[in-house]
Symmetry: C2
Subunit: 391 residues, 2 copies
C-alpha cells in the first residue's frame, strides 16, 4: 500500500426533506449571501429552488440565483457567475443539481477569488483560495458532492479539463433521495454507470496488497448491481435510490481509493466523446469501459479474474482466465444494456470517421505527450483500436 | 434507510514515517502548545515520543508530557491532565497510543473547557466545547482515531461510561502501520477482534433496505479475515498491518453504519467484563460476541444467514438456516481461537459466581431500567444466560 493523506470534511445531511436544512447549513459554514446555482427548469418546476430559498430566507441569508447550467458545464456560465459574485458581494456558492451544477459552482468559487482567468486553474495553476461551496444533490452520479474535483468544458474548441483541491470540496452536501425520483430513467442509468466507473477506475491498480480497498470497492459494486435494476423498474423506489445515492458518494470521496494507484484512462477516452458529441458522460462510459477492459485485460489477468468472479459471480476457471474475464465483461455489458445504456459509438451520436481525430486529441490534447497512462500505458494507435471496439 | 447526518472531518496522514508530520499538523489545526498524552514505556523506549517531540520542536510548538495511560483508561489521570492543561496554558491535546490514550485525551480536551467535574460529560451532560485533539495511532483497534467517541473507567466502583461529540473527534490522526509492528501478538489479536466487533455491531440492524452499508461491512470483514492471520504469523508484515489499520478506521468512522439502527449490546455486556476483571476489551469481545449471537440469532435468521454465507463462506441451506448460522458462528469462533483469543469466561480471569452481579450491573448500572436494547431487547435473565454461554 502507498502512503497517502485522506481528508473528507464534508458534512452530509441525508434523507427525506433534507433540503429544508439548507439555510441552517449555509449559516453553520459561514455564509451570509448565497449564489444559488442550478441547471434547467426541472429544479425550478419541482419547487426545489423555492424550498431552498425559503430555507435560506428563514435564516436571513441573502440569495442571488444563477440557473442555466448545462450537462458538461461550460466556461461561459462560470465567467458570468464570477462576475455576479464579485458585484453582489456573495460569500457562499450553493449548487442545486447534479455533477454539472456542482462542478460549475466549484469553478465559480475558486475563480471569484482568483486574480486572473479562472481557466488557469483548469490548466495547471493550483487553487490557493476559494469561497465555500455547498450542494443540494439531485442526481446520484458524479460524486462531486463529496469530492474536491471539478471538470469544465471550454466552449472555444469544446474541450474538457479538470482540477482538484480540498479548497473546493463542499462544506456540506444535502442528499435527499426523493429529489432523484423525478429523473428520467436514461439519466438515472447514466448516473449508475458513472458511479460504477468511479469504482472500477480505482479498482484497476498496479499497487499490490490493497485487500481492504479492493473489498470495499467490490462491496459497493455488488450493492450497485443489486439496487440499480430496482430503480429502473420503479423510479419511485426510495430505498434503492437511497442505497445508490450513498454508494455514489462513497465511490468518489476516495476512502476506497487511498493508498493505491488508480486508472482513469477510460474517463480520458470518454471525455473526448462527450466533448465532441455532447453525449451524457455516463452513456459515454457505458460504451467506453467494456471496450477498454477487453483491450487491456492481459496487463493483469488475476485482477480482472478477481473482478469477474467476485463482482459478477463468474465461476473461476484456472485453465482459462481469459474466458472468465470475458464472461465478466459480457455480464457488465448486459447489465448496462438492461438499464438502458448504449453499447456503440453510433448510439452516442458518434461516427467511425472521427476516430482518428478522437484518438489524436485524447493523446495530444491538454499538453499530453502522446500517451495515456494509468493501469497501462497506451499510445495513439492503442486508443484508436479501443475506439474501434466501440463500433 | 433512516435519515442521517454524517460528518468525518478528521485529516488522516497514513504510511511509513507519518509521525514526522505531527508538528506540521498540530500547526495546521491551530495548536501552539501541546499536551503529549501516552501510555506505558513502549512508546518512550521505541523512540516514538522523541520523534514526535522533535517534529513539534521543529515547528516551534511547546510540549508537556503526560504518560501513564492504562488500558481501560481511568478518570484519575484525566483529572491530572485537566489540571496540567489549565496550569500550562495548553491549547492542543496530542495522544500517542491506542484507543486508551486517545479516549483519555478526548476526556481531557473536553474536561479542560468544562466548568465542573468532567465526569458529568460521561453521565449525560452534553459536550459543548473542547480543545482540539490529534492522534498518533500505535494500535489498530478501537477506531477512536476517527470517531467522536470516548470511554472512561471511573476508579470508584470500576465502571465504564462513554460519551460522544463531533467536538472531540480528532482534527488529525497519524496512522503509520510500522508503529503497530512491535505490538505483542495478543494485543494485535485483541485489536483485530475489536475492529470486527465494530463492524458486526453495525451489521446487526433492524432497518430494512440497507444494501450499500451491508455490502461495505461484509467487504471490510472479508478483508479482516484475509489479512489478520498474516500479521499473527508474521508481525512484521507491513502490508497486512496497513490493510488492517485502514479497515479499523473505516469500521468505526461510521460511513458503513449510517442510516441504520445498530446493536452494541455485546459491547455493553463486554464492558462489565473488562471493568470487573480488567481484561483487554478485545479479548472480552472474543468471548462475548459468539455467545451473544448464538443466543439472539432467531430474531432475524435471514440476516444471520446472510452473514454466515457472505462473510464466512458457509454454503446456504434453505431447509436448515439454524445450521448455516451456527456453522458461521463456529467459523468465527475458530478464527478468533486461531489468532490467539480466549474462548471462555475463565480464560478472561472471570468466575461463574460473578454472573449474577455482572448481569445486574449490565442491566441496572448507569441508570438503566433493567433492559439492554439494540438488535433485540434483553432483560437481566437473558443477560445471565448469555454470560453462562461463556463458561
Amino acid at each position: 500500500m502507498d502512503n497517502f493523506s485522506f481528508y473528507s470534511p464534508t458534512y452530509f445531511a441525508f434523507g427525506k426533506e433534507a433540503e429544508k436544512r439548507a439555510g441552517e447549513l449555509v449559516r453553520r459554514f459561514g455564509g451570509s449571501k448565497v449564489l444559488l446555482h442550478y441547471g434547467g427548469s426541472s429544479a425550478k418546476k419541482s419547487g426545489l429552488i423555492d424550498r431552498i430559498k425559503e430555507s435560506l430566507a428563514n435564516e436571513g441569508i441573502g440569495c442571488v440565483e444563477l440557473g442555466g447550467v448545462k450537462p458538461n458545464p461550460r466556461s461561459g456560465l462560470v465567467y458570468e457567475g464570477i462576475d455576479i459574485v464579485r458585484k453582489e458581494g456573495i460569500d457562499f456558492i450553493l449548487a442545486a443539481g447534479g455533477g454539472s451544477s456542482i462542478d460549475s459552482a466549484k469553478a465559480i468559487a475558486a475563480g471569484a477569488l482568483y486574480d486572473g482567468d479562472f481557466w488557469d486553474l483548469y490548466s495547471g495553476t493550483p487553487i490557493t483560495q476559494a469561497l465555500p461551496v455547498g450542494t443540494v444533490l439531485t442526481i446520484a452520479a458524479a460524486g462531486s458532492e463529496g469530492s474536491g474535483d471539478s471538470v469544465i468544458t471550454k466552449e472555444e474548441g469544446m474541450f474538457k479539463r479538470g482540477t482538484g483541491s480540498d479548497l473546493i470540496r463542499p462544506k456540506f452536501s444535502i442528499l435527499n433521495p426523493e429529489l432523484t425520483q423525478t429523473l428520467p430513467p436514461y439519466q438515472t442509468a447514466c448516473g449508475i454507470t458513472d458511479i460504477m466507473a468511479h469504482l472500477l477506475e480505482r479498482y484497476l491498480t498496479n499497487t499490490k496488497d490493497v485487500v481492504t480497498t479492493d473489498r470495499m470497492i467490490e462491496g459497493l459494486l455488488l450493492a450497485m448491481i443489486e439496487e440499480s435494476p430496482k430503480v429502473i423498474a420503479d423510479p419511485d423506489d426510495y430505498e434503492a435510490r437511497a442505497n445508490i445515492m450513498w454508494a455514489g458518494m462513497m465511490a468518489h470521496n476516495n476512502s476506497c481509493g487511498v493508498g493505491r494507484s488508480q486508472d482513469w484512462i477510460s474517463h480520458d477516452i470518454e471525455h473526448e466523446l462527450s466533448a465532441l458529441y455532447d453525449c451524457a458522460h455516463g452513456a459515454g462510459l457505458a460504451v467506453t469501459f467494456p471496450a477498454y477492459l477487453s483491450y487491456v485485460y492481459e496487463h493483469d489477468t488475476s485482477r480482472l479474474v478477481q473482478w469477474a468472479t467476485r463482482v459478477w459471480g463468474v465461476e473461476d476457471d484456472k485453465e482459462d482466465p481469459k474466458a472468465v474475464i470475458f464472461e465478466g465483461i459480457a455480464r457488465y455489458r448486459a447489465f448496462l444494456r438492461d438499464i438502458g445504456m448504449p453499447q456503440t459509438l453510433g448510439e452516442l451520436g458518434g461516427n467511425e470517421q472521427d476516430i482518428d481525430k478522437l484518438a489524436h486529441t485524447a493523446c495530444y490534447g491538454n499538453g499530453r505527450d502522446g500517451y495515456l497512462r494509468g493501469f497501462v500505458e497506451l499510445n495513439e494507435d492503442d486508443i484508436k483500436q479501443i475506439y474501434r471496439l466501440m463500433i
